[in-house]
């Protein structure tokens, strides 16, 4: 009910407090296990982003470095003082590659999500708003994309785009765009469904009665209301895109070790090590994948639960306030407490 209590006659726009910022607001809102999950997810994701940004400072060596002043590192070396997590079969430093790998992963996530959001949201908005044959064709195409095994689709796209090359940006874009193709239908579907729902709301009709054009209605009234659920899909898709990237790398369609560090590629190369008792080449890149995906998924799931008042847990009600302390706004908005 706090929002109902009037802030008397503030001139101009009211200042938004930092407490209302998206993620901060949710952390403050959550309690108990839900808060634990959200905070754990945020910490894991924070560590991931931090590592990616400061990779050059954190990593002891370059991702493609095979030798230093003392000569070559040597292949499959045990973890030691020089190489905290040992070296791979190719003679790279495992720790450095795990750290540099965050950078590749983050780039791929950001590019993939940006591309798929722009395309998916635009298509979904137009398709849902106008309907008709365009809508039907787009829905069929998206269904077809869904029906395809996503990794197979990503492989095909990767081959088409990179054509066998594997520079840093070429590889990253190949991976990102192939993930994009898989994700566009998801954003398309969500935005389209929301658009169809919002199109029938009275405020859109009221804009039509006023005489607003289609572009104005779509931009000002529909789009901003249709993007409410996007942050949730976004975090979930981010974790999924890491898995797709690792899958591509594991199958050999990723980025070459000299171009960038990539966890899936390292896992692929460590396959034969596993049987010969060399555990450090596979465990660390694998753990990096697990923790990053776990962190992003936890954030996504908790945001999802918190956005839904039926799934959100609350503190138990206190004793009724003493007589006379009735909330004056209480009668104004009957369901105000449940408005997300």
């Amino acid at each position: 009910m706090a929002t109902v209590v009037p802030a008397p006659a503030a001139p101009g726009r009211r200042r938004r407090s930092w407490r209302k910022l998206p993620v901060v607001h949710q952390v403050r809102q959550s309690v108990g296990l839900q808060r634990g999950m959200l905070v754990a997810g945020l910490v894991l994701t924070g560590v991931f982003v931090f590592t990616a940004v400061f990779a050059p400072l954190l990593a002891p060596y370059e991702f493609g470095q095979l030798r230093d002043g003392d000569g070559p590192f040597g292949a499959q070396q045990h973890p030691s003082g020089d190489h905290l997590l040992g070296t791979t079969v190719g003679g790279y430093d495992v720790l450095s590659r795990v750290i540099w790998g965050t950078r590749t992963a983050l780039l791929v996530i950001v590019i993939a999500i940006l591309l798929s959001i722009v395309a998916g949201v635009l298509l979904g908005l137009v398709s849902g708003y106008f309907g008709g044959w365009l809508d039907r064709v787009l829905v069929v195409i998206c269904d077809a994309v869904y029906a395809f095994p996503s990794l197979l689709l990503a492989i095909v796209v990767a081959i088409v785009i990179s054509g066998g090359q594997s520079s840093l940006w070429g590889g990253i874009f190949a991976a990102a765009i192939s993930i994009t193709v898989v994700f566009i239908p998801q954003y398309f579907r969500v935005v389209r469904a929301e658009t169809v729902r919002i199109k029938a709301e009275a405020f859109v009709e009221s804009a039509r009665v006023i005489g607003a054009g289609h572009r104005r209605i779509m931009g000002r009234h529909v789009l901003r209301n249709a993007t409410r659920t996007l942050p949730l899909i976004l975090t979930l898709n981010a974790s999924e895109s890491i898995l797709t990237l690792a899958g591509l790398g594991f199958l050999g369609f990723g980025i070459q070790p000299t171009a960038a560090a990539e966890w899936g590629y390292d896992l692929n190369k460590s396959l034969s090590d596993v049987t010969s008792g060399i555990w450090w080449t596979s465990v660390f890149p694998g753990t990096a994948i697990v923790l990053t995906v776990l962190g992003l998924t936890l954030v996504g799931e908790s945001l999802n639960d918190l956005a839904d008042p039926r799934l959100r847990s609350r503190r138990a009600a206190d004793d009724p306030p003493p007589a006379g302390a009735v909330e004056p706004g209480g009668a104004l908005v009957p369901s105000g407490g449940y408005v997300a």
Partner: protein
Amino acid sequence: MNTVVEMTDLQVSFATDAGTVAAVQGVSLSVQAGEVLAIVGESGSGKTVTARSILRLLPETARTRGAVLLGTKDGSRTRDVVDLSGAELREVRGEDAAMVFQEPSTSLNPVYPVGWQIAEGLRAHGRLSRKEARAKAIDVLRRVGIPDPETRVDHYPHQFSGGQKQRIVIAQALVLDPGVIIADEPTTALDVTVQAEILDLLRRCRDEFGTAIVLITHNMGIVADLADRVAVMYQGRIVEQADVRTLFASPQDPYTQRLLAAVPRLGTGVERTRERAAAREPGWAEATPVVDARDLRIVYPGRLRRPDFVAVDGVSFAIRPREVLGLVGESGSGKTTIGRAIAGLTKVTDGSLRVLGTEMNGMRERAFRPVRERIGFVFQDPASSFNPLLTIAEAVAEPLVVHGRAKDPQAARPRVDELLEAVQLPRAFGDRFPHELSGGQRQRASLARALALQPELLIADEPTSALDVSVQARVLELFDELQRELGFAALFISHDLAVVDLLADRIAVLYRGKLVEEGTGAEVLGAPQHPYTQRLLASLPVPDPDDQARRRREWERLRAAD
């Protein structure tokens, strides 16, 4: 006479995102066997929570204190519902107290036959065989007035009309012969004519089954019709409790007095209409109508070999400048469709509809856009007619910006402030978001938005049906004032005859897509010609117990004559 429900100092509070909210504070009530207690109050007053706590049907976030003693019908045992265990609570529910919900179409499970759903309660309290339960279900269906219950018992909910569904829900409540039935707005979702039948059935529940009824409603007419005793709630407390005649004759609490004064009454508009008619300049009747409909037909095409649905069938009417036409009818009568067609939201199928000189049959959006400037529209639900992400000022400025009268919402602000003042909202409200306003405030902002371009025609589609009575009165008053000041013509759509009577110069009654009666308030309400109008008028409960008793006899006579 024994007491079925005895509530002492009941307090209920809810945990919400913004801390604890007290919904009910220190309510004490008692219900005698075989009486109807009405709990009235505006939305948010705690009346539903109070009644639901008799069955402890509250969400998990609720916390209850105090005592709710629920007795069996014969008075042999009394239990405190507040601290019953789950199993004991199940024993009490249905057997000592039952519930009738507001929306009959959602309170029945669509995948089971109604007989099964009625028998479910019997089986849950496990005394009867399948055969006996079925026999009992048929019996109770007959007693609530479902014709041919032997076959109907196997039908599914969608095969019944809304009124019949509510009868079945009542049968479900009655079958275990509980001491008290809690009816939460049992007729709000129904049309007036159906409402009268359900109220009649509830009265028979009391008289024939000897069941006490706790009736939750905001409609003072229903209270006058059915209740023996009334409790008025305001902000979680009971402000007044009295038997029905005393309450209507001499309300004690100021809130009750205000509430009763705000209820629109039939026949109050007649004088006003006469005044307005007298004040018109001579050539008025010959002036070109703002809206002119001739044999208007609107059909919604059927899908997949289903027949088309004819929403409006050969309707002719005219609205002249500065005139308010009230359009009345039950749900599905086509009244909203006509309003939407005038605003260009629904296509005209056949006939002619001229709006401000533009023919709407075969209209093109591009050609109609300039005409839109001259039409205002007020929507039914103030909660959804505002974009939740725009401030009130931005929303009100929208028509000004779209039609190029202002460059952006900031430039339109002086005019917006003027408009907000005209609808009696403080300027500062312009910076608020829609959810920060109450329903009545939002509907006034909606009126401001509709009037922003100084339209010649205003269409108001049930603008007050989502509002509380006390709020409704203020919005109607404001509408009347603005209409007199600005002189726009208006189409006022409503299902409530009393509301239309208050505002309209002429009233048109729609029934199943056809216009059955049209005339001034005095003609239509004073001497209705069409049988439907007569039935509609007789079904409308008036907020006066004695007058209502007389009208009820009239209604029974009309029904017997059918």
